[in-house]
Assembly symmetry: C2
Homo-oligomer: 240 residues x 2
Amino acid sequence: MPRELIDLLWRDHPAAPQGGARGPRAAVTTGAVVDAAATVADAEGLAAVTVRRLGDVLGVSAMSVYTHVNSRDDLLVLMADAAFARMPRPGYGTAGWRTRVRRVAEANLALLNEHPWLLEIDDDRTAFGPGTIAKYDHELHALDPLPLDDVGRDAALTFVLDFVRAAARAQRPDPRADEMPALWGRWSGRLAEYLGDAHQLAQRVGSAAGEAMNAPSSPSHAWSYGLERILDSLTAPGDR
Amino acid sequence: MPRELIDLLWRDHPAAPQGGARGPRAAVTTGAVVDAAATVADAEGLAAVTVRRLGDVLGVSAMSVYTHVNSRDDLLVLMADAAFARMPRPGYGTAGWRTRVRRVAEANLALLNEHPWLLEIDDDRTAFGPGTIAKYDHELHALDPLPLDDVGRDAALTFVLDFVRAAARAQRPDPRADEMPALWGRWSGRLAEYLGDAHQLAQRVGSAAGEAMNAPSSPSHAWSYGLERILDSLTAPGDR
DNA sequence: CATAACCTTGTACGGCGTACAACGTAAGAT
DNA sequence: ATCTTACGTTGTACGCCGTACAAGGTTATG
């Protein structure tokens, strides 16, 4: 293990340890590997981000990638932190808390829509990265106007971001979408037979919700509706 | 492909196609494979559920497993539906909607805590399974006392279950938990150097939240707090 | 008894992450 | 100017994975 993950996360910081001076110049940098990985993930999903593939993309052998990243798991952490680092962080100006939090939610939704693979990265070590910390700080400040103690502030932010995460999950296109019509053709008849008239409420609501989701307009009523509910709840009184 | 997934999902239904009469008796059943998979997943996580491993557990060759499940992806769908099918579904009696929804949320949290691997299964085809449909129907009925149309009812349930899912994710023990002390020992000094006095809010709130999470009591303030907020929001007026 | 349908199995293929050792390269030490 | 040392790069190999395929055994049906 050449350099620890924490030092790779902070590789752009002045205090970060540099590679030793001897030996040949590295053909690529850690940053280049991370960027290449993100590009592949954006285009073909996280599963396409393999070490051999990255080697190809970077014009380098597979094993050479390990000079810059330690392991694939570490790479995922670096990818996530880099994505967070790149998020725009406009100042909040004089906006009220509701607008501020709405902006935070919308920015996160946009990020997750752009990089759906972030939903698959679940590694606590990202919390130590500069991008993740900067994002956290910025988003905590959105709650400045609200009377929250430290723990409550963290809980409120988590509450909002979890909602966003679920919404992004729901909006993510099903990778099986193109098979679904054929599947439905083969299955719908059988399913009707199995179901009979049992679970009528589920049948009715399910088909209504299914149609609503495929409806051309209102791409996400659930989003705007849910977000307003979430915002409302932030001003609700404490436990009862 | 011997039998379609939909028929495997409904394998206990009288109308489900049975295996042909000829040939030797199958050594195991689809149900046995699914149960074995769930047992392994409970004990060692979903990644330990491999086809070869299931063969071992069932005393059968790896390839023989494919007689009963078609593919590993299909198996995951069967596992999820079986878990949903086994959830207790007590009647709601005369309980008010708030109690009913709270019970639904608590039942789902308990399920996800018992079977954390459910969080990793994300296949829309589960929606066609008998367990999933029965669960859906039962949970929709929790909302009977509320004045919701079909689409709104589905949206409300999704809203609640997404919250539960996020809470279960947060409560899930980190598989890296045992490495963390050593990691922190090596990293905390460096992180402090990198951070300096930047992002002071994040530093303060982060450590407060971290301590609160490791606190012995109040295993999840976030859960009860968040759930009440979610419940409140279900009675809020519509969009504004 | 022959046939056809079914289950089981071993082998094999192409993928994965990555350990390891050999080799080349360039800066510091002498 | 040479030697030494640290480092980057590479090919090979190991043990996993899911699963395609073909061969062979087993049983009810014609």
